[in-house]
Symmetry: C2
Subunit: 310 residues, 2 copies
């Protein structure tokens, strides 16, 4: 685990919960130790919520150690997960080092959300075993992870990455080639774009958009996704759906060909309406509440899958 911030720590929990020995290293002195202390507290929370697969927090926590050097962290590892700042210059530097030090058969993955893997792996001798494995945070509660190959990432690397991710309980999205924004941020971006446009044009409030998802669209999406949703929304399946509603969506697309300036006055509106609901000083509490709800949803989904299947 390279980098011990929010993402590095979350990955450390995800791997160690699955039985892996995790070595955590951070360029900044003392950062990894401090992060490990937070990790132990988080593990207590997860144990209390029955989200450690029956293991105790101590048991899982004992698998996470901090190393003084990068070389120590990489020694004998079969998976490297890099979680350094989202700056391509830093990534290039770190990746040169890690590619030189990691065992030749180790898979090397970056958590980056905004940089394609070719941007920092092109010059590396071991570039064939490098990819992006982008989680939604925190991966120990949100299983989806995007596996993104550079043009030179080998099929064996992709296959092994998929296997490892499934083995630790994640749900990999396996891209065939790299693309800015990958899959999830592109889908999120497309929806947010329309959300900002609707609010900017004054058709509805910020809360109305959120209600439309949390009391509407996202209920089915949270267990079947958008393609299965439309496939089940017409008697003859997705082709029937497109026959019935394709014309509507074609009309709508035409009326979406203009960007809302997210940084313009709509941002004042969005921020103003959000701060009415949750004042700035309440954000940290609300984030903890969100994590509780996410844990409860995670338990619910596990139970529903047992009761009804997936």
């Amino acid at each position: 685990m390279l980098g011990s911030g929010l993402i590095g720590r979350s990955w450390a929990i995800t791997f160690s919960r699955a039985g892996w020995q995790v070595a955590m290293w951070d360029r900044e002195d003392g950062a990894a130790e401090a992060s490990r202390a937070i990790l132990l507290t988080l593990l207590e929370d997860l144990a209390a919520e029955d989200l450690l697969n029956g293991q105790s927090a101590a048991e899982v926590g004992a698998r996470v150690r901090v190393t003084k050097t990068l070389a120590e962290a990489l020694e004998g590892t079969s998976w490297v997960q890099e979680n350094t700042p989202e700056i391509v210059g830093i990534k290039r530097e770190v990746w040169a080092e890690l590619d030189a030090l990691a065992p030749p058969d180790a898979v090397c993955a970056s958590s980056t959300s905004g940089i394609v893997p070719s941007a920092f792996t092109e010059e590396l001798p071991g570039r064939g075993r490098c990819l992006v494995a982008h989680p939604i945070n925190p991966p120990y509660l949100i299983p989806a992870v995007e596996l993104v190959p550079a043009p030179w990432t080998t099929p064996e690397t992709m296959a092994k990455a998929e296997e490892v991710m499934r083995a630790i309980g994640q749900s990999p999205i396996v891209m065939t080639r790299e693309l800015d924004g990958f899959v999830m941020n592109r889908l999120q971006g497309a929806l947010l774009e329309e959300a900002f446009r609707l609010v900017a044009d004054g058709y509805c409030s910020v809360e109305d958009v959120d209600v439309g998802l949390r009391e509407g669209l996202a209920l089915r999406w949270s267990f079947i996704g958008p393609f299965e949703t439309i496939d089940l929304n017409a008697p003859g399946g997705v082709r029937d759906y497109v026959t019935r509603y394709g014309g509507l969506y074609e009309r709508l697309y035409k009326s979406m060909q203009r960007r809302a300036d997210w940084t313009g006055s709509v941002l004042d509106t969005v921020e103003g309406q959000r701060r009415e609901r949750v004042p700035k000083e309440g954000l940290a509490d609300r984030q903890r509440w969100r994590d509780r709800r996410l844990m409860a949803l995670s338990r619910h989904k596990r139970k529903a899958a047992q009761d009804f299947g997936n």
Copy 2:
């Protein structure tokens, strides 16, 4: 309740569960009686799942009666919900009749998903009390409902409609003026457009998109919506989020300026991949499974709101 198909029946359940007396009428002879029989079976299912607020199926079912004429159905009612086919000519005809027959103080709502209210209410003497109340089906499990005014819908009508919807347990999205696709289909359309594009361009599979939502984005959206999600995803709230990631989304928007032809070869891909997972003859079973999961999610959300708040 005008029209006794899937939507009319679902609304009848939603209103009667909340204690309303519901009169169901259908232009087609015998259709409303047949629909009421299905409704009684559905109520048994909902009672078994503890989704009738502690009432028995018989108790709720007794509030739904079938009438022989439209005039009888409208007599003394305070809310009219129209659920006829999505053809503007039919709507115009039906609405002329219902506006003439409904009590002057009744709110008249259409369930249409694809027609703006001005298209079938302009000529009506009582057009001020007419609006669209568009549910996601079934409204007794999915609370979001879009209230869409025509230019002449009175503020009193909108206020009363909002009040009635909240009283029967729905979560209204109150639009300030009409717009093709309303709010939810526009948000869904924007996301689907990108989903079709990703699959058409071969970046990922249909299942990958569904995983990205059901094991990723839609988990948080299902209880906080997309605006609250980004508001909680940066330490300083939504403005901080836009500062950090606005540039990424601006780049992505530029690369989305081209439509995927949903009816083209991508539809063969989508349909092919869906049919591998659920063959055509399995769709009806899968729809029943979806409804079970939706009921379980509905119970989970009620309990989570009690345990942790909303």
